[in-house]
Symmetry: C2
Subunit: 414 residues, 2 copies
């Protein structure tokens, strides 16, 4: 059988996250590993209300096939919502609802990537994007991040080398707001500079911004869709983090000719997204005040959790030298960097023994770097778990660093 698989399928590898997540299902483990919302904050009453209304009034439409380009009512509501929150005019015709934004990534891969084409990504970056693009035989160029996001100034140098080798860069993939996994936000200056570089070197900007509504502090930074020429920017949004991941509703914004291609690719991929779930999001968007109140509530609760994690890190890690972490202004994650030599993958079993879990940083680095890093999620655990989990983690790290120190001494002695 193996010989029948396509060349790209042979390269498919299980997501390291999904594999790790299987290990941490024991109830006494405090997990900072997942990237999932707190289900106690789901607006189930709102869900209940709109579902009842839809099944009563338009059940025949909600349960029938829908158009590949999505429910026009949803697209119009999204257009209004974007105007409302970002001040941008995006007509419904430039909006394509997808089976959550992961499908958007897959369709972008299908529509743009020839095997061997290059895509620029962050080091680290969202691993679902790495998986989606890899399935089309992409090559990655990695650009490190700092506290202002991707260090875009490093791009031109990388591109010059590629050009000499006659290689083609199709796009840069960025998560500009509260990046998954690093939690950092790209500054306005960097965003503007990235647009200039993209114009000069003629590649597209794919902006993936599922956490954008979840800002807990700091200043709003405009999205690429508001800053860049519309032919150059493709934006991916998701309702997974602000409503329900289980509905799988997200959307892509792009130029009309790109949207047309994406629709054709979507037609071949699943004919149409579920209609009922699109109607649910449309109806919730119509209840704009209730929707905004819900987001406010998320922001308040997740802010507390972020603050709890930052406090716990200060409390338990302040005596451990060489450990750094990002201070996210929003989103679901923060990023830990340990002293060189500490390998978070090797440390992982010990963390599990001590009933705490994280995601190893290498999972987010296509080139296998980031061994001394880890991603922590603060949206899912309770406040109490956050404190206790960080305490446990600090003990594990302390022990690991002592062990490393001991080995180093033995080596020096020998």
């Amino acid at each position: 059988m193996e010989d029948k698989f396509s060349e790209l399928a042979r390269k498919l590898r299980p997501s390291p996250i999904r594999e790790l997540l299987k290990l941490i299902n024991e109830p006494d483990i405090i997990s900072f590993a997942g990237g999932i919302p707190d289900p106690t904050l789901f607006p189930i009453d709102l869900m209940w209300e709109v579902t009842q209304q839809i099944l009563e009034n338009e059940g025949d439409k909600a349960l029938q096939y829908g158009p590949s380009d999505g429910d026009i009512g949803l697209r119009e509501e999204i257009s209004k919502w974007l105007k409302d929150k970002e001040g941008v005019d995006i007509p419904a015709s430039r909006i394509l609802p997808t089976t959550a934004s992961q499908q958007g990534l897959d369709l972008i891969g299908k529509v743009f990537i020839n095997p061997g084409d290059y895509v620029i990504v962050g080091l680290p970056t969202y691993l679902g994007a790495l998986a989606a693009f890899s399935a089309y035989g992409v090559q990655f160029i990695g650009i490190p991040l700092d506290d202002e996001g991707m260090q875009v100034e490093l791009i031109p140098e990388k591109l010059k080398k590629l050009r000499r080798a006659q290689k083609r860069v199709k796009f840069v993939y960025v998560v500009p707001d509260f990046q998954n996994p690093a939690g950092v936000t790209m500054s306005l200056q960097r965003r503007k500079r990235l647009i200039e570089i993209a114009e000069k070197y003629d590649f597209l900007i794919v902006e993936d911004t599922p956490y954008r509504e979840l800002r807990y502090s700091g200043e709003h930074v405009p999205p690429f869709i508001a800053l860049g020429p519309k032919e150059r920017v493709i934006s991916l949004y998701s309702f997974s983090k602000i409503l329900f991941p289980g509905l799988r509703v997200g959307f892509v914004i792009a130029a009309p000719n790109v949207i047309r291609k994406l629709i054709l690719a979507k037609q071949a991929a699943d004919l149409c997204s579920p209609v009922l779930t699109q109607f649910v999001v449309r109806e919730i968007l119509k209840r704009r005040d209730a929707f905004k109140r819900h987001i406010m509530r998320l922001v308040v609760r997740y802010r507390d959790k972020r603050d709890a994690m930052l406090s716990a890190l200060m409390k338990y890690f302040h005596d451990i030298p060489g450990v750094r972490w990002t201070k996210p202004e929003g989103g679901l994650f923060l990023w830990l960097t340990f002293p060189e030599g500490l390998d978070t993958e090797k440390m992982f079993p010990k963390a599990l023994e001590n009933k705490v879990a994280y995601i190893i940083g290498t999972a987010f680095h296509f080139d296998g770097s980031g061994k001394n890093t880890a991603r922590l999620n603060f949206s899912y655990p309770t406040m109490k778990q956050i404190d206790e989990g960080i305490r446990r983690l600090s003990k594990v790290v302390e022990a690991e660093l002592r062990e490393l120190e001991r080995k180093k001494r033995i080596k020096l002695t020998v």
Copy 2:
């Protein structure tokens, strides 16, 4: 921008059906064009009952992320249902729920097809499969159908030629039950023979059987999944025709190593299918008696519609020489073949003028053949519309044949 699209994306073409469907939205047109269920038969009460139960008891799970390999409860219920209806033992581990069976087709394309690989399909065949596989750069080999389905005896000759050219056939794609578009069912003898040929020439059998529960007459024929070795057969099922298309729930059955690859491909394509919709299908499968009664009701109503269409064809077409049609034992479609020279695409605007619509046969032929054929759907229109629509169509066809005759005479005279 065009130069940035991938090579395969440049080849993406709008589905001719979707384009035609846009033309026939006027309410006074009787449309035999769509392939959609009758929404007046949707079991909305059942939908509401299970949705209410799910939101009340497990809303947090139903609205959260789910596993890429689907809800285990749904997979177990499907396993029991398959045992119940087909007498086959398929463990849950060999079942992968998908965002309807179109996603199954896309994932199979991704996992098996290298650009240039060959796939055997019917002439005609389901055009969504043509679109899904084309997106991966496939080459098709066409095998004509007759009243017993695909004429599988013609395969070896075609394959010998390919082998000489060192080409690789990955699989045959068949819709064995009440085929879309032709309405014919593959006989047991043909199924067994196809398995022998597949074994001998070492290719897989992809069976797509969304209409299987909708048998109105004739004898049950076992599915490939019950007849063939499990390593050789991949089966696609769908709840779109027997519950609700708008839920987008289907599933793939395959050997464990194929399922593993499909799960990885699905992870990259959409992380997971909507969870709520999977729970809905699981709960309806659990209410087995109500589900069976619903299917019985569909069978009774669609049988009446099929019979109405066959009667109308007898009534209005019996005076028109050279027109043939299939007599489907189930499903949603029948297939019309007109005398050579009549081009259903050229006739289409005249049909619209006369307020009746069908799908042109060439849409289902990858090689552009089938110009004198058309697909008619009988599940969606009412009984009255079926009679009146076939009457209108007969007038259009009569006029078209007269016109062809006249042109022929002029040609002969000149």
